[in-house]
Symmetry: C2
Subunit: 458 residues, 2 copies
């Protein structure tokens, strides 16, 4: 029995390892187009800045390590076609250029996601980057070493853009962020976004909102293709000088191959799978950034590209592909996310007030200003927490937090939402208190207590 | 309608404030024997060391502040007797020495807890302290100023003892800890306790276990009562020189007054209340350290003296005393606790494996070694997490954690246990991941995943 896994980052390698553990007799091969498998992509912004200097640290496991567990991980190999009836694959060795055929009994598609390219002139100039693969980081580092850029423009104020803003600033560049929407951190509400903007500006990063990049220009006299060097980014009448441009305007699921052999996509544009991570094509599972899942609060399909989710999905897909049975189920997500920008943490889970309304709830919400330690304990720093609950049932629907200690607050809220707790359930929740760790009542409890009153009176 | 609250720390002041908010027409008076109300007792160890230099910061609200909300907070007033039939109280003004009568319609007993005195000769010598009240901290600080002690012995390795060990060390004293039991942090398991000991020793604090203090001796020639100065602490044949002794061998509920007028105690020795914080005596509620509650995992009575629990109980008692109805219920606790000793956090929630067995579960457990950030992210520090689950149902029963980031892990586990989640429920829980905040899968998820396999196979 031969299992082929297409894609070797978080979901693919987890699926392969898990399948081999569940069914040691299984032949397992992973095809990965990039030069490495098992990349910790979330660490890439910090590698660009040399905060994480060792490239090797971002490669969790090499093909040699996989070989020790009798898993064949073939890098620089791209699967170009799949014949689901014949259970055959066409694979291209990207180093030799040679194409060969392989067979499978079971297949896992873990083709991941790709960066959205800036859809304006000049997007291919030298010095304009997206960040998705370790090779992207390599290219940036080579360019930085060669050109010593001093003025960076980050196009896109989402988490990759903001993490990169921090890391480029760390390299000594003057950084400006250009966001097309009305505020930074577009998946967050305005209150949180304002804090993020204030914090960035406090660090000397300039922020432009409602600023859709119209054009990227190259150094005069140089070719206006990828060999010419970037000189500026323009939005409307504003021209920002730039010798480094990071484009972080989003990612999309990489589904071309899957579509080509009849795998059905869902309404988000990512691969549709059942709760066992099985696609509509026989003996084909899918996992990671290329699939859509269900938001457990809204009940709606949700696509999100996050390493921890991919890892969990990989475990489910790998197990089920190994057994051939619906052994494990993936229960969906809350859309939990977190990022850091300089000294500020930004986290969210569940639905925003608007999303809650769209999902048919009757939301009530509250904003709590608190600190990450007892107010009298030295070093206490601020944190803001917004909580949304259903006004009818009191069910906690979502939380956003910005400031210090947001990872704890986000995780507590995520656990509560995961368990479908109500505000009333949380009011007396026995969380851990000591002055160095938080206020007497966790901001989550404070918020739940206020909302509990609103629910009763609504 | 007159509500009298006996005791003005966490539970008493919360109950008073809450009652006044719920029923603004209520006359509310708080009697407090100590010179201040609303003391943040958990901050006291850090005040002794001047880590929190301002005494005022530890007084959350003064009687004047309470007066602004039309609550009469009378300090240095001790309630000496209660006549529950006549709804009368005898109160002693500790400044004037005068005794007077007062009346109540509803009464809340929030008399708190008291430190256990060391039951050996010399326990009253000058320089031997317990730490419970702000006045205890005042006395220590005065002694430290006058005597400049250099060698401290901390008797008792629980959280007060360990927090004080850190703070006395911070003052430059040479510190030794003497614990009667087999390991430090007696409410924790041995693995966690070993880490704590290693960390203390790494800071230069000497630790003696199985070392019950037998005698405290005074400077030769000085009176062997509270006017003589401490010179050493002896256990067995070992004599430790000491010019400062902190006794942290536990607290007990302060129930003398309650018992004297017929309030029933529970099996833990603290006041028994129903879920509405009502005692067996008509129109008398009780809250805080003087009452017992229910452990929601074991279902058994539990007594614990913690500020956050007292605060929550006070809210329930205050509301119900104001309405005269069972308006709110206090649902019990998990026994969640946390403390910091130097750079190490130590937290727990729910049941240990032994407690789980005693409570009729069939526990399985796992220990996870992880880090507080992605392994490749700079500054990642270790954390150890032990999780206990029921082998039959998979229900998560308890967690202990030691290291960095334990507050988050303890709170996530506490929320999960509060919601009665199983290991299976947690395996795919959508917690927040980014490299600066933790490993790809939270140690809570890692532990749940391992236990999930054990449950299936058990």
């Amino acid at each position: 029995m031969r299992l082929v896994v297409i894609g070797g980052v978080a979901a693919g390698t987890k699926a392969a390892s898990r399948a081999k553990r569940v069914a040691p007799e299984l032949e397992v091969v992973v095809y990965q187009a990039e030069p490495e498998v098992s990349i910790s992509e979330c660490g890439l912004p910090y590698h660009v800045s040399e905060v994480i200097p060792d490239r090797e640290r971002l490669v969790a496991r090499t093909p040699e390590k996989f070989a020790e567990n009798d898993i064949e991980a073939k890098v620089r190999h791209r699967v170009e076609a799949v014949d689901p009836e014949g259970r055959r694959l066409t694979v291209k060795n990207l180093d030799s250029g040679e194409t060969f055929e392989d067979t499978y009994d079971r297949l896992i598609v873990a083709t991941g996601s790709k960066s959205v390219k800036l859809p304006v002139p000049g997007a291919d100039l030298e010095g304009v980057f997206t960040l998705k693969f370790l090779t992207d980081a390599d290219a940036m580092k080579a360019y930085i070493k060669k050109r010593s850029p001093e003025r960076a423009v980050v196009v896109g104020g989402g988490y990759i853009g903001l993490e990169m803003a921090e890391n480029l600033h760390h390299l000594g560049m003057e950084v400006q962020v250009v966001e097309a929407g009305e505020h930074l951190a577009p998946t967050y509400g305005e209150t949180v976004a304002d804090r993020v903007r204030g914090h960035l500006e406090g660090q000397g990063v300039r922020v432009h909102v409602c600023a859709a990049a119209d054009e990227v220009s190259c150094v005069p006299g140089e070719a206006e293709d990828c060999t010419g060097r970037v000189e500026s980014v323009r939005f409307g009448d504003t021209e920002l000088p730039a010798d480094f441009v990071l484009v972080g305007i989003g990612v999309r699921p990489e589904v071309r191959l899957a579509e080509s052999f009849g795998v059905k996509l869902g309404e988000t544009g990512a691969i549709e799978v059942d709760e066992n991570m099985r696609t509509n094509v026989a003996d084909v599972w899918a996992a990671g950034d290329c699939v859509e899942t269900t938001n457990r609060v809204s009940g709606k399909p949700m696509w999100l590209a996050l390493g921890d989710v991919a890892n969990k999905m990989g475990r489910v897909a790998g197990t089920n592909a190994a057994t051939g049975q619906p052994t494990l189920a993936f229960p969906g997500v809350l859309g939990t996310g977190i990022f850091k920008v300089f000294d500020l943490g930004v986290g969210a889970t569940g639905l925003s007030e608007g999303e809650a309304r769209d999902a048919g709830f009757d939301p009530v919400s509250v904003t709590i200003e608190a600190r990450d330690r007892a107010g009298y304990y030295p070093g206490a720093r601020p944190v803001l927490l917004e909580m949304v609950a259903d006004g009818k049932t009191g069910r906690v629907l979502g939380v956003e937090a910005v400031g210090s200690g947001v990872d704890k607050l986000t995780d507590v809220a995520a656990t509560a939402i995961w368990a479908r707790l109500t505000c009333d359930d949380l009011v007396n929740a026995d969380l851990a208190y000591a002055p160095p760790f938080g206020p007497t009542n966790s901001p989550v409890i404070q918020a739940a207590t206020v909302l509990s009153g609103k629910v009763r009176s609504s």
